[in-house]
């Protein structure tokens, strides 16, 4: 192990990791640029590099991008990745109150802890955990998506309109129906457009619903109403809120576990962590109005996915998400086919790579803490400058996703439609959650039904499924109870 550590702590390795991570933070922070895209595009370039250095560069990008998505989410309410949507729910209100510096600090510390914890688990228990994760089949994937969708209730009781949040979530799932039905190969509502055969990509939706709408709203404001009084005090360094450790620990654990499971993990992990942390919080009523606990849970959750997703990727060749899949391409191109050989024959490359992820987490911690006071000032940039710059990135980013102009139109359509929905009080967070998790739930459900040969029993049969049902009920019952109480005891009208 010592010689592996020595490989990481050479000047060139450290520089590579630092470059990768810093670039990752920037990529994660820009609307439309995703870690998947960055890693995918860089894989061919690492081909000519020293294999270990190439992998370190990509690992740094992965870690950095996962954290980077939270910066614009907090400052501008424009999450750079879907996994940062939950962060925006708490982070942006904090910025508006002038606590942007603190929100950024909580986010970077939580990301660091979640990321480091998950890499530690990867280093110590990868083969063992990967075997366990295999028991998780399509039926359990369906339940995981349900757990994520339970987050809609959580978003709702903040905006205090359960019905509208549910409608928005449903709308998201309905939009997700468009495209090829994977089970029969038939086309659903594509209207003969080849662009719709794959369905509606959630990235243009994310950019339209958040980045673009935020810019439209900024442009429509008479006065840039941000409380700047406390911003100048950030130099004094606000300490981390008390009791935040509990939420970071919760998010780190949840994120790592969900990351290990196959499927698009980070978004689900962030929302489930956020939802769980709200359940255990003593200050539930502050959620949705700028509670750092929510940021802590969501960010430790999505960064926990980084190490987690690499567990099945490296040991079994089953990438935990799309970034891990792109990263796997980089391993294969170097002749390192995932499996036991990575830890024996190629140990001199694999272990330094895993160890480099610790360094990458450290790098973004330093970057984040060091730049937080300056980054916080981004929120002060006048709309006349902000709106065109972010707008241009939104258009470019949408195009760059698939080199398709159609995605730009899609993004604009989501911005216009979303703006109307937002003004009518429908939750866009619920909509995007439905859009992302709808297909995962559908795939898990239909595959589960096929494997169960038509019997729904498969969804409650396994021990894992039973535990998941308990968690789903625990997530759903308290908010429903309080909703019922409010409506029937007439405390307030929640609709």
């Amino acid at each position: 192990m010592l010689e592996h550590i020595a490989v990481v702590f050479t000047f060139s390795s450290l520089l590579t990791i630092a470059i990768g991570t810093t670039a990752g933070v920037a990529i994660g922070g820009m609307p439309g640029l995703t870690a998947t895209m960055a890693v995918g595009l860089l894989v061919p370039f690492t081909y000519t590099m020293d294999p270990t250095a190439g992998l370190m560069l990509l690992g740094g990008i992965y870690c950095g991008a996962m954290y980077g998505g939270s910066i614009p989410a907090i400052l501008l309410n424009t999450p750079g990745t879907p996994a940062a949507v939950a962060t925006a729910i708490e982070g942006y209100p904090m910025s508006r109150k002038g606590h942007a510096g603190l929100a950024l600090k909580v986010s970077v510390v939580a990301s660091f802890v979640g990321g480091t914890f998950s890499v530690f688990i990867l280093l110590m228990f990868a083969p063992l955990l990967a075997r366990q994760a295999l028991a998780f089949g399509p039926a359990e994937t369906f339940l995981l998506a349900l757990m994520g969708l339970a987050g809609i209730i959580s978003i709702a009781d903040e905006n205090s309109s359960l019905i509208k949040a549910l409608i928005a979530g449903l709308l998201g799932m309905i939009i997700a129906i468009v495209g090829t039905d994977d089970m029969s190969g038939s086309l659903r509502y594509t209207g003969g457009l080849i662009e719709l055969i794959d369905g509606i990509d959630f990235m243009p939706a994310l950019i339209g619903l958040f980045s673009m709408i935020q810019m439209l709203e900024l442009a429509g404001m008479h006065q840039h109403e941000i409380d700047t009084s406390t911003l100048h005090k950030t130099q004094k360094r606000e300490p981390l809120p008390k009791g935040i450790g509990k939420h970071i620990a919760l998010g780190s654990g949840t994120g790592t576990v969900i990351g290990i499971l196959p499927g698009e993990g980070a978004t689900i992990a962030a929302f489930i962590s956020y939802n769980l942390s709200k359940r255990i919080s003593r200050a539930k009523e502050l959620f949705g109005k700028g509670n750092p606990e929510g940021i802590a849970a969501a960010e430790s959750g999505n960064n926990g996915c980084v190490g987690g997703s690499l567990v099945p990727t490296l040991t079994l060749g089953i990438p935990g998400n799309s970034v891990a899949a792109a990263l796997m391409g980089a391993f294969i191109i170097q002749g390192m086919i995932p499996g036991p050989e990575l830890f024996t024959e190629y140990a001199d490359r694999t272990y330094p790579f895993i160890l480099s992820l610790f360094v990458a987490n450290g790098v973004f911690l330093l970057v984040g803490l060091g730049f937080a006071p300056y980054l916080a000032r981004i929120a002060l940039v006048p709309p006349a400058l902000m709106v065109p710059v972010v707008g241009a990135f939104a258009v470019l980013g949408s195009y760059a996703l698939n080199n398709a102009v159609f995605d730009v139109y899609l993004m604009i359509a989501f911005a216009l439609g979303g703006l109307i929905l937002k003004k009518l009080g429908y939750s866009l967070e619920a909509l995007i959650l439905g859009l992302i998790l709808g297909p995962i739930a559908e795939g898990g459900f239909t595959q589960g039904m096929i494997i169960g040969k038509g019997s729904p029993w498969i969804f409650i049969e396994s021990p894992i499924a039973k535990v998941m049902w308990v968690i789903i009920f625990l997530l759903l019952l308290p908010p429903l109870y309080s909703y019922y109480k409010n409506v029937h005891l007439g405390k307030e009208d929640p609709v």
Partner: protein, 315 residues
């Protein structure tokens, strides 16, 4: 008057391009359209080609343009629509290229392309979980007759799907087919024992087979494969089921003949270099060089087979 001069200009321009075309070719970087995501196996094949070609051919520069989606259809359409001036070529993969034509979804036909030649292949395989009682194709057929087996294939209309359908019609069994999104889900289903069998590609499962995490029971190619020489084919086991994925280069139809010949020759020469073969081996790309005419014949044949399956059970 004005119209006339424009017309004259166009005529002159056209004349110039045909006569001077080869002399000035390439006048700009050649774009290679890759109908899948960056980092995947098709993408790696294209980048490997560009790396070796740029080194050996002065004046040639390549740009890879990834157009992923719809089982390659978006990218195939883009190649077919590209200006045939030799500055855009592309990669295609089978059986999706012909499956889209057969299912009536494609706007292109095989005539939309000039087929330059095949580069790589990936044999189809049948794989079962490591502790499965099924050890051969005969076991698979027997088990499928007794009980509907759940069998994972990578989406409807894919090579896996076609292979499974062709096994069904060869043996008269009916599988409980589980379509997945991508080979990753298939892998997880096999390694986790959630399905009874899967039709996949060799490169996706060879390491898992060698590590004992899954068991390949047959190759669906005419001959055995050098990467797994002990593995018998389905044909050896008495089942005439054949399927493989291929990845070849094509150009939009109608390119100036001299330019097209230059591109075709370059492809054949690059594939023959030691460097290309060496790097393909490291990157787990299984080479299967085929000339343009051979590959075209292969595609036509494959299209007829696919049509037979489609007519029986359309998707």
């Amino acid at each position: 008057m004005f119209k006339k001069s424009i017309l004259a200009g166009i005529v002159v321009a056209l004349g110039l391009t045909t006569t001077a075309a080869i002399a000035e070719y390439p006048s700009k970087p050649v774009t290679i359209i890759v109908p899948s995501k960056a980092g995947g196996s098709t993408d790696r094949t294209a980048r490997l080609f560009t790396e070796v070609a740029e080194k050996n051919y002065d004046g040639f520069e390549f740009i890879i343009k990834n157009i992923p989606g719809s089982g390659g259809q978006k990218g195939f359409e883009a190649i077919a629509r590209a200006t045939p001036d030799g500055h855009t070529i592309g990669l295609v993969f089978t059986p999706q290229l012909v499956a889209h034509i057969v299912s009536g979804r494609a706007k292109y036909t095989l005539d939309s392309f000039h087929i330059m030649g095949n580069t790589a292949q990936d044999p189809a395989i049948v794989v079962v979980p490591k502790d499965s009682p099924i050890k051969s194709m005969a076991d698979l057929a027997a088990a499928a007759k007794a009980n509907a087996l759940t069998v994972a294939v990578n989406g409807i209309g894919s090579d896996d799907f076609l292979a499974a359908k062709s096994f069904e019609s060869a043996t008269g069994v009916t599988f409980n087919l589980l379509p997945t999104k991508g080979s990753t889900e298939q892998k997880a289903a096999i390694l986790g024992g959630h399905v009874d069998a899967a039709f996949m590609n060799l490169s996706q499962m060879i390491k898992q087979h060698q590590a004992g995490d899954a068991r390949i029971i047959a190759l669906l190619t005419e001959e055995r494969d050098e990467h797994l020489p002990d593995m018998p084919t389905a044909k050896e086991q008495g089942y005439e089921v054949f399927m493989r994925a291929t990845r070849g280069f094509v150009a939009p139809a109608g390119i100036d003949e001299a330019i097209q010949t230059r591109l075709d020759t370059m492809l054949a020469e690059v594939m023959a270099t030691d460097e290309f073969q060496e790097k393909a081996k490291t990157g787990s790309i299984f080479l299967l060089p085929m000339t343009g005419p051979d590959y075209l014949a292969y595609l036509k044949d494959l299209m007829a087979q696919t049509k037979a399956v489609y007519d029986k059970a359309p998707w």
